[in-house]
């Protein structure tokens, strides 16, 4: 038993109030095994990890009860069981980094940008091994970088973090964590910010390193796909408590607790499929018709800011969306899928090409000429926090666009329409008098949908609408969108990176890579028989829940 957490309570102070972040959490991790903590946001997963390594800010946190027993392996090999909660800070520092290491979620900010990658690892090495010379530490650093499969490690050691991609940075983070050969590695959502293909590589790498060294991993994630790839045992957390714990197979195939079942049922692949979509007549003209659409961003250099080259975010795309269809646009971050979505609505000016909406060419229209079309084309955004104006009541947010487009005769009628729309997205109509900060993420996303709906649009771009949401909320939002599509015969362009969501929601899918669409077809066909090499790679990398 490497780590044993008994009845751990962690209270956080926030604005003069005590929040019971952890309320009696107990679990244990054996040597060499991977233990996953799963739960939705706010369930206390990260607080557990930070409590174990004792990194919570001491002025706002307290541990009224519990113990965290860790088998501290001294340099000579002697093993002493210590309680992290009562250990003096000096000895905790000996353990942190050397025996318990941590990897964070955000690879972009967890490396110090003013030091080279090598220096950061060397510093950690020398700190925990004072007898190690600089040359030895450097040698060791190159070795660990090679182990995490960074090519030309001897050269890359001198690079600054900004020269590395997100995946490479996460590899460096792992190298840094593994450099001192820790007994326990805490990984807090290490792949959440990464593309699926990169995620698959990182997960594979972590598994290999674990097998070679016998390291134990405390793996924190919200993604059941990742869990089923990594975990030996797992625990499901909810509101600061562990509701279910057990071996992977047992929990996934025969969940005992209602909450676990609820989470598993909310996965897109387990959701009940909706009734078959209405047949789309192919002879009708498509609602959206795009020809050779290009969006180039100039790269400017020098004093005179001359344009030396372009970033080809959208590089000559042809695409048609028939009325009433849900087309999913899939691709990794930076492939241009969001830019394409915004360019269709002319939120970003296309550099070239033609956009037709229901037979009218809208590329090249002036602001005022475009306004009638704005009503028919709407967008729903990813981030429910920043997509609503904090200063306006929901009533104002919803009625202002209606007034501009002349929907509703007077303000009383518009208000009534706003209330009806809120009811349609399954919110209380009286919410119109509230401000956005009073709502949860899922509720805000519904308000975002309501804002798009009040104008009675025919076409909506859904830009990663569920990726900031917990899985159960995601399921509700997806079902709501499908229902609205059926009621209003909406046409949706569904931009996402989540293949599970694509399979559940879309009729057709298009795969984007490097500013171009590399494959397009009915969702079922593409998923079962991908033709393009990138699509094959993408689908192979998707972590699936294996039951």
């Amino acid at each position: 038993m490497l780590l044993q957490v008994n009845n751990l309570k962690t209270w956080l102070r926030s604005g003069g109030k005590q929040v019971k972040a952890l309320d009696g959490v107990s679990f244990s991790i054996n040597k060499g095994e991977t233990f996953c903590l799963v739960g939705e946001s706010g369930s206390g997963k990260s607080v557990t990890a930070l409590s174990v390594i004792q990194l919570l800010p001491q002025d706002i946190s307290s541990h009224p009860a519990g113990e965290i027993l860790f088998d501290y392996r001294h340099d000579g090999g002697r093993i002493e069981q210590v309680d992290m909660l009562t250990l003096p800070e000096k000895r905790r520092r000996e353990i942190r980094g050397a025996r318990i290491a941590m990897i964070f979620q955000e690879p972009m900010t967890s490396l110090n940008p003013v030091f080279t990658v090598g220096d950061q690892i060397i510093e950690a090495l020398q700190l925990h091994n004072p007898e190690m010379s600089y040359e030895q530490a450097r040698q060791r650093t190159v070795e660990v970088l090679e182990q995490v499969q960074i090519k030309d490690a001897a050269q890359r050691i001198n690079e600054y973090p900004h020269r590395l991609s997100g995946g490479q940075r996460q590899r460096v983070m792992i190298a840094m964590a593994m450099a001192c050969e820790p007994d326990l590695l805490i990984a807090d959502e290490p792949t959440t910010a990464l593309d699926v293909t990169v995620q698959a590589e990182i997960l594979l790498l972590m598994k290999r390193l674990q097998q070679r060294r016998g390291t134990s991993i405390l793996f924190i994630t919200h993604d059941f796909g990742v869990v089923s790839q990594m975990a030996d045992r797992l625990a499901v957390m909810r509101k600061g408590k562990i509701v279910e714990e057990g071996p992977l197979r047992q929990v996934l195939s025969a969940p005992r607790h209602a909450y676990t079942r609820q989470l598993l049922n909310a996965l897109p692949e387990n959701l009940p499929r909706p009734t078959a979509p209405p047949p789309v007549s192919s002879d009708e003209a498509p609602l959206i018709d795009i020809r050779k659409l290009q969006v180039y961003f100039p790269i400017k250099k020098g004093v005179l800011r001359r344009t030396v080259d372009y970033v080809r975010a959208v590089d000559g795309i042809d695409m048609q969306i028939p009325e009433g269809q849900i087309l999913a646009l899939v691709g990794e971050s930076g492939c241009g899928k969001t830019t394409l979505g915004h360019a269709i609505l002319r939120l970003i000016e296309p550099t070239g090409g033609r956009i037709r909406f229901s037979g009218n060419t809208i590329s090249g229209l002036a602001r005022a000429e475009l306004r009638p079309f704005r009503q028919q084309m709407q967008i729903i955004f990813q981030d429910p926090v920043s997509s609503l104006n904090l200063r306006l009541t929901i009533a104002r947010t919803l009625t202002e666009p209606m007034a501009v487009h002349g929907i509703g005769a007077n303000s009383a009628e518009r208000l009534e329409l706003a209330r009806q729309t809120l009811a349609q997205v399954q919110l209380d109509p009286d919410f119109v008098w509230r401000y956005p900060h009073e709502f949860s993420g899922g509720q805000r996303q519904r308000i975002g949908i309501a804002r798009a709906l009040v104008l009675n649009p025919r076409f909506i771009v859904c830009d990663e609408v569920t990726s900031a949401l917990d899985v159960s909320v995601q399921a509700e939002i997806l079902q709501l969108l499908l229902e609205l599509r059926r009621e209003r015969n909406l046409t949706l362009l569904f931009i996402t990176h989540n293949i599970g969501v694509v399979e559940y929601v879309s009729d057709e899918m298009a795969v984007m890579y490097g500013g171009r669409i590399v494959e397009r077809g009915p969702t079922g066909d593409v998923c079962s028989q991908p033709r393009h090499e990138y699509t094959q790679r993408l689908l192979a990398a998707v972590p699936r829940v294996q039951l």
Partner: protein, 394 residues
């Protein structure tokens, strides 16, 4: 988890109401606001607080109020504004309507008071004291500080530069200045200049800054490049020396001072607003507003400005303080207003005579210090309230 707890406790209130509450929960802001409040009251009621004209007197059973007779149009306008603000603050109206009402009252009050009110050209402050000694009045109610700022006490002989409470027949709480006028009275009247120059100069600077910064931030590209050069040009202008030059050429005028301080201090605000607008433009709610086809006016003023105005408010409260300091500096150098009272000008007299006149340094200096300090306290609290990371723990 902490988010939901916080949002539930703050429900039902608008974001700006919440921020104001958050600001004035801090002690610094309360103290600052209290001092500014005292100053505002002193400035508005100056003709009643410190004046040689008796508030009320009776001659042969007949009531007279000389102070009302001598009210100037400016005094009346200030009084009307003060009371209409008080009344409007209690009325449940939209902010836009309140501003509209206030503006109409201001225009109406200005027109009416300048056409209707004509105080006597000649003021003889000595007459009341002579009449009292002659026993002409049945009874008399004087102001708390019974000396006008320009009442040089000619009938009392040489009264120049007396320390506080030095004379047995007259009470000068803060002493007298070199011409023999009461320091307290002059300080009360000088608070108008201090407040006025702070608010008007900062108001001008904010207006220009918001317009230019907003255009730079929203349109970026060529507008940004031109605006930025303009900002750099104006930032290079040394305010104090420009003021000195203008005073030398065009004489001493408070209004020129206000305009010049306003015209030279807008670049800071423009930079803030530009940065905010560049950030807000990418925000999804602004994109959503564009996608809804809202007119530019609404996008700029309803969706972007209220969300980007926070840092400017912080900067403005510091700006008011620095405008007051600029005026005080100028007056201290002897280049302020000639006869009208000002704190800086009084400070100047502390060292003019061969002796050090401590009361001329301590009281006006203390007032300048407290006022600048009060604005800085408010600015500090505003900044903390706007900062999402700080206000969680306090």
């Amino acid at each position: 988890m902490s988010n939901s707890a916080i949002s539930s406790s703050r429900s039902g209130r608008s974001y700006s109401a919440q921020l104001i509450r958050e600001t004035f929960r801090r002690w610094g802001a309360r103290i600052g606001l209290a001092w500014i409040g005292v100053l505002v009251v002193a400035a508005v009621f100056a003709p009643f607080i410190a004046t040689s004209h008796p508030l009320l007197l009776s001659i042969d059973g007949e009531l007279h109020s000389p102070v009302l007779q001598f009210l100037s149009p400016v005094d009346v306008i200030l009084l009307v504004l003060f009371f209409s603000v008080l009344v409007l603050a209690l009325l449940p109206l939209a902010l836009r309507h309140k501003l509209l009402v206030l503006l109409t009252t201001l225009v109406a009050a200005t027109l009416l008071s300048y056409t209707l009110i004509a105080p006597p050209q000649l003021t003889i402050y000595e007459q009341y004291r002579e009449n009292i000694t002659a026993g002409k009045y049945d009874w008399i109610i004087n102001a708390p500080a019974p000396y006008s700022p320009k009442d040089y006490l000619r009938d009392m002989g040489d009264t120049g530069l007396e320390p506080p409470l030095a004379s047995s027949e007259r009470t000068h709480w803060f002493g007298t200045e070199e011409n023999g006028a009461d320091v307290l009275s002059r300080m009360v009247h000088a608070s108008r200049i201090a407040l006025g120059i702070g608010f008007v100069a900062t108001g001008i600077a904010m207006l220009i800054g918001i317009i230019i910064g907003g255009l730079m931030g929203y349109f970026s590209g060529i507008a940004d490049i031109i605006g930025m050069r303009l900002v750099e040009i104006f930032e290079a202008v040394p305010t104090l020396f420009l003021l000195l030059t203008f005073v030398a050429f065009f004489g001493r005028s408070l209004y020129i001072m206000m305009v010049i301080i306003g015209l030279t201090s807008w670049p800071g605000y423009a930079r803030y607003i530009r940065a905010e607008f560049l950030r807000l433009r990418q925000q999804e709610f602004v994109q959503a507003a564009i996608a809804c086809g809202l007119p530019l006016r609404s996008i700029l003023f309803r969706h972007m400005l209220p969300n980007g105005v926070a840092p400017i408010l912080v900067a403005a409260s510091f700006g008011v303080a620095s405008a007051i300091l600029a005026e005080a500096t100028l007056s201290f150098l002897g280049l302020g207003l000639v006869d009208d009272p000002s704190w800086g000008q009084m400070l100047n007299q502390a060292v003019q005579a061969s002796t050090f006149n401590w009361w001329m340094a301590a009281f006006p200096g203390g007032a300048i210090f407290l006022t600048v300090f009060a604005y800085n306290l408010i600015g500090e609290s505003l900044r903390d309230a706007f900062d999402p990371y700080l206000n969680k723990n306090s």
